[in-house]
Amino acid sequence: MTVTEERPTSEVGKARLRKEDARLITGQTNWTDNIVVPGMLHLAVLRSPMAHAKITNVNIDEAKGRPGVIAVFTGKDFAEEQGTIPCAWPVTPDMVNPGHPSIAVDEVKHVGEAVAIVVARDKYAAQDALEHIDVDYESLPVVLEMEAAVSDGADKVHSHIDGNQSFSFVFDAGEAGTGEPTQEAFDNAEVVVSRRFVQQRLIPAFMEPRSTVVQPIGDGFTMWTSTQVPHILRLMLALTLGVPEHKLRVIAPDVGGGFGGKLQVTPEEVICMMVSRRLRKPVKYTESRSESLMSAHHGRDQIQYIDIAAKRDGTVTGLKVRLLADMGAYLRLVSPGVPVLGAFMFPAIYKFPAYRFQCDGVFTNKTPTDAYRGAGRPEATFAIERIMDELAVELAMDPMELRRKNWIKHEEFPFTTVAGLTYDSGNYEAATDKAQQMMDWDGLKAEQKQRRESKDPVQLGLGISTFTEMCGLAPSRVLGSLSYGAGGWEQASVRMLPTGMVEVVTGTSPHGQGHVTAWSQIVADQLGVPFENIGVVHGDTASSHKGLDSYGSRSLVVGGIAVVKAAEKVVQKAKRIAAHLLEASEDDLDFKDGSFSVRGTPDSKMSIQEIALATFAAHNLPDGMEPTLDSDATFDPENFSFPHGTHLCATEVDTETGRVTIRKYVCVDDVGEVVNPLIVEGQIHGGLAQGIAQALFEEAIYDDDGNLTTGSFVDYLVPSASDLPHFDTDRTVSPATSNPLGVKGVGEAGTIASTPAVVNSVIDALRYLGVDDILMPMTPERVWRAVKDGSSGGERAAEGSLAYSATADTEESAL
């Protein structure tokens, strides 16, 4: 028998245009700041201008008398009930958490901290009244630099704890049994290269400023807020403020970007809840951009000491990493976990036999740090990809050859690394070959040589980043072993409506990623129902009651798989009813293209949408069967997701002006199977933009007094269209083996990979002048200084920048 089966066109893999766009391109949006509730009052926040000071007096009398002012509150008014901003990731048993008040009571510890709240009938009255509050501060010593903060006799951020260290997290592969003793590897090394790298402080800078509305309803509350994590937020607000969990509904309406910056329980959300509870009135708070930049959490900010050991032939034999990670003044939701996630990524794609990692979390009088796109993995990728280049120079080897010699070969997967992770699949050779071909690598090498020889003032540099990352958070038991406060599962429901339409409920909380479109594609394939007939519900704890939200490139690889599992259950239930109605045995039924048919009797068939109606009517169901097809699934993956790729960057560096221009950027990413190539490419583009921006443009700078001098978009340089190159992107496909769709996370890949590719290319252009490092962002000033001095570009990048000057030129060893 010849079977000429017509393959149905699969929805998964199609470049479907997004369902989300219709409202976003027409202005029919529902941002939190658009929401108006009858009787709603407006909050304005008075913020500390001091980085570290005692509050000796707050006079609110005049402000209270202003027209339209309903109430004015200070920290003392909420001291008893505000608790602390929760930290869900105590990375060590003895981690010191000094507590994080939402509104300062006796002392302020960073500029921008809330000191007083005005509640007024409109935002203008509230804002005007702020000027009529008098606060007396008694200044205290300001702690800003991590290396100074951990030295003996340093001034302290928190007077009630010893020193400025929150934790010291160690991962030692020798002790963990995943590798050989590290010290031995270094003692026996033929070559050791040590470097000190700086991960400057960045700001997530989502486009939609954060906004929160709280409405008391009966004895409960509804909160609309610009968050990535409505479910986590509900739980944490319940625990922090004692609002019964079932009396609190959290809604994330349209959310304008997050990038980790809205993975938080913010002081402002807590303040809105407390004020609404106190006054029994609906309240709204919307931050200004400058408030956002100084008080929403920052990212990165590490000093990295990294040592690599190798044989003369280029075989790597050991890796040691010591980090100082700036927590800022307090610990927020996952502040300590961010650098610790990086612990497992420093060995990257290379077969290190020995590895030791230590991270010390340090308090300073700055805005707290927490997740920012990549969260720990960009930092790790930067350090390893930078030092691989430095090792190549030391060994006089081609940097790509050094990488090829040490990376995991495609036939070696699954591969358990020295950090104890099992990479399920990948093909570094294929991605690299493709990228080099797209780049015209050899042609650019020849041009570089020619420019060098002709002493061209504009030099060409070629940079490499062969990265992998761990994402899709994640296996609950692994998160448990890392002391994370929650699991990593995700929930989905698939509801069959009587008209044949399908409603998918997801616990993920998209804010630009396109889950409505992608989940529709997944369900269309699973149920054989048209893409257009599927809707997706998300971001409301009342309708999507269970979930762990969107961050860490987890939505598809965890949440999307939960959708698959729920749809499979729907089909199983429908099959039983189909068998009953078609008067056939379940074993004789085939399910294809949305219809059940009796094998051998092709005319005897019923679509799943017809079965949905029959189930709704419930007139004729199998005995004992509940009249529903609706199904839930909660998926907990057994492994992380390990996307990888090769990113290549060619930069032209003007040695006379220090100007860096990206001439060509090529990346070949392997994110496994792809649900929607349009969305995947968009994620890569956006990720690249943020990673390149770290290399060239962005830095949160504090002056000597602890004032953020990049507190507006005038000074904090989010790149514009003119600042970024064209991206030449392509993909290879090594399906993930850890989930039925074969998919891997993609949200952070571009950001994780791109920063070292850019920096390596600039160093490559200037290496002949004796330049072996340039601090990020590589501003024209820093590059010019590096060219002039043959150094790392000097300490001071800009007026008022501290730029880690304390020991910027010292060479220290990791441990």
């Binding site: 391109i25 202005g27 029919q28 949006t29 583009h685 978009f713 269209a721 003119s722």
Partner: protein
């Protein structure tokens, strides 16, 4: 209070406003035109871009009183007879938006750019939308959308 007469998306309004009231706040809070958004407080991001008498302006740098006698078009007034404006359509087809917060301003800036230069080069497009920040897309698909709708494009 100052009296202003202004036409917004084809509707005439006659209102008393405080002299300090910004156009964007007038649009959002008085007229309910919340499709236009505020992204910064320094006129850097362009999220609030609207057309005033056919030219793009950042409505956070225009006072309501300056719009007196003027004609304003916001993102909500761009499509006609239920049909998307070609720039809106192009943004959709090129996947030129993700979170969509910058999109209203970006689309309005593009409409103005194309009215001045119907066939811009990539560099001219970049210059034209330089005053509008997007944190999601890396701009590549936005540039593609603008090209698609320009006279040299396929549409």
């Amino acid at each position: 209070m100052t009296r202003i007469k202004v036409t917004v998306d084809g509707v005439a309004y006659d209102d008393d406003v405080e002299p300090r009231l910004l156009l964007v706040h007038y649009l959002r809070e008085r007229l309910g035109k919340v499709g236009t958004v505020v992204g910064c407080d320094t006129s850097n991001c362009g999220a609030c871009t609207v057309l005033m008498d056919g030219k793009s302006v950042k409505s956070c740098t225009v006072l309501g009183v300056q719009a007196d006698g003027g004609e304003i078009t916001t993102i909500e007034g761009l499509s006609t007879d239920g049909r998307l404006h070609p720039v809106q359509q192009a943004f959709h087809e090129a996947h030129a938006l993700q979170c969509g917060f910058c999109t209203p301003g970006m689309i309005m800036a593009t409409v103005d750019l194309l009215s001045e230069n119907a066939n811009p080069s990539v560099e001219e497009i970049k210059d034209g939308i330089e005053g509008n920040l997007c944190r999601c897309t890396g701009y590549q698909n936005i540039i593609k959308a603008v090209q698609a709708v320009s006279s040299g494009g396929t549409q």
